[in-house]
Amino acid sequence: MSLAPSTRRLLASQFYSVAGIATFIGIWAYASSRMEHYVLPSPWTVGKRMVELAQSGAVLTNFVDSLWRTILGWLIAVVIGSVIGFLMGRYRYARAFFHDLIYLAANVPLIVYAIVAIIVFGISGMGPTSVVILFVLPSIALNVAAGMMSVDPDLVGMSKAFNRSRFDLARHVVIPTVMPFAFAAGRVSFADSWKLAALVETFGGSSGVGYQIGRSYHLFSVRDVLAWMCIFVIFVVLLERLVLVNAEHRLFRWRADTPQRNRRWRGASKAAAPAEPVSTSAVETVMRK
């Protein structure tokens, strides 16, 4: 929180950001009062609907469904992506081999993924999971490769000189260097993969948040779409702020006093996609505050 030199300023900034949200809800309320209620329901109607959905337990079951699929796909992607990233960081041949494939996979529009999943898997739980794998894999692989390439060669040389085993080298030098890269990639991609899973469910799921949104759309209920949308946002923000940020603090407590920015830049500038970490970290810092 470099923004706030004093507590008063911090409180004031909180006040302004609440005011920002209040303005938007106010505009929404005003607009809804001028339109038919089925075109744009008022914030209170949507809020009431959200409470109803939460009380009936629909929110919980659907979110658990979506979250489970996302996490499963994400975990598989992390494992495969780390292996590919390791190979890419280690061997020149692998770097050239995977470069185009990963570049392609990273740039496919989400809608194409969603549709391909429907074609291939039909309406089953495998669709969201497999698409999440395809989507998360490139960023994990690229960042792990960048991390591998930023491993300090002096430390590697020294541990060889002192006859450390490869296991020791991996444990004390390679993994600590690569972890922040992998974690940054995983964090950013998790938020997006969750959106993608919802999108796939919209097209052809049988349960989950996306399915509920798609169903409300087909029933032409703007109220329900907005209610699910608000719930979705609340979940994403909560997940981002509470779970992932805490996990990150805990994992990287040991390097709290090191200048992390420099380390990341140095590795990132050698990586395959030099522009990426800039904007990623920019988006990240905004999300974190």
């Binding site: 900034s13 074609i119 959106k195 830049w265």
Partner: protein, 269 residues
Amino acid sequence: MTAPATTSAPAPARSWAAWLTTDVAARYTARLLMLVVWQAIGVLSTRIPTPVGTIEFLIDEMMRGEFWPHLTWTLRRAAISLSVVLVLGIAIGWAMGRWWRVGAYFRDVVTIMLALPAFIWALLSAMWWGFSEVGPFVVPVLAATPMLVASTYEGAKSLPQPLIAMSTAYRVPKVRFFGWLVLPAMSPYIFAGFRYAVLAGWGALSLVEFFASNWGAGYRAAFWYDAGNFNGLMGWGLVEIVVILAVDRLVLERLARRSRRWQEGTERW
């Protein structure tokens, strides 16, 4: 999977093996392998489109004269909404970095907008505006602007304060202040964010065309999807991928690199 070949074959064979491990060879091996695997899967399954079928479909589509009108229309929409994104994103991002009150005011709104997936906007626009031109314009703006705002905000916060103080002291005109100091200093952040914004906006545009339009590349994909022609769906999906890759690679990446040129050799980059 594919470690560098460490064969100790006789001389002529070794030059072959050596060539096979070069970067160029590795790239073509990967591309070829992908096509072959895709074709094999497509032949084995009846649902999955094959590369050959997809190419055939695209040629057919061009012969029918359906290819260019739809594609150019989509490109036109993208150009209009992305120029709005550029103006809005830079203005809001800069203001957020310049005045902390504005920054605090927009902070949570930007967070929420970043968390919202584009397909919800696409569905809402289908319900609100039907098949009109409003949806394809509004949805990419809503989906892409937050990315550029977030990135520009970082850039605006890192503007060199001494230079700003000096230009205030010497009363540099506003236009020059912006053109010579603010924009060049923020440009690496702007271009990095804009690359993301273009990706997000293009995806959002294809989504909204899929759901709520009767013209454009996304609409054609939806058309063939509804008709059960998966080669057609894949063909249009491929077109969208190729266009965005070409724009990203040939234009945006170069611009981003150019915008960073003045910083080369400095510590941060």
